[in-house]
Symmetry: C2
Subunit: 140 residues, 2 copies
């Protein structure tokens, strides 16, 4: 049975779900920083997913990436599965800007998170629901 | 026409090629740190690849990851496409150990690289050629 890791539950906001992955927003308004979590139990590594699920993951990641690039006028998209701290497989998709405080370095381990205002979260959830296509379901 | 970015040519060692990606080894023996570069011209982002190439990329990444996990007895595999410094799409696959100097942080931007001895490179190239399957071609 899949259950979201408590650390992801604590640090992130639920935005919705693709056929494979739950879509979370990192509660840090410093960057448009999203996390895809495949809803499969006991998976730590991308290569532990079935071939079909790997194809779903890269497809959902790219759908999200295209939207982020447009919606946030990103200079670059960063995608990564690290998992050195939280073992449950989770896939970062981050819209980067040359003006952001971590550029050109990676975002992990930089300054304290700046939590979102509730209205900003609603706005992002609505925009995601409108943009991410028929198989994406918005939820909170 | 695909041409490897000069910065990747400078920092990395050619190991071989999959059907889609060139396989490079970062010339830093601190970590078993490999880079896959899709041999497609003018691509910066994963989502700019065709759907078929995205499937090839995740497949080649997972084949490489499985080998790294075993060969280097990794505690975790990190995969990422950042590209904030080198715009040509390149995909990091890194075998991490709880004992490595960057753990549990990411490896980018840490200490100066420790170049490999030539024998160590030959050993890795031979092991990759033996392990990565029929569609992988070893080269230097």
């Amino acid at each position: 049975m899949f259950e979201l890791h408590p650390r992801l539950k604590q640090d992130c906001i639920a935005i919705g779900g693709f056929p494979l992955c739950r879509l979370l927003l990192m509660n840090d308004s410093t960057y448009p920083w999203f996390i895809l979590v495949p809803e499969r139990a006991d998976i730590r590594e991308v290569h532990e997913l079935t071939d079909d699920d790997q194809v779903r993951l890269i497809g959902e990641s790219s759908r999200l990436s295209r939207w982020l690039a447009e919606e946030f006028e990103a200079d670059k998209i960063n995608v990564a599965a690290l998992g050195n701290m939280v073992p449950q497989l989770h896939w970062h998709v981050i819209a980067r800007h040359v003006s952001d405080p971590a550029w050109p370095g990676p975002v992990w381990g930089k300054g304290p998170p700046k939590p979102y205002a509730p209205e900003a979260i609603d706005r992002i959830r609505d925009a995601a629901g409108d943009a991410l296509g028929e198989t994406f379901v918005k939820r909170s």
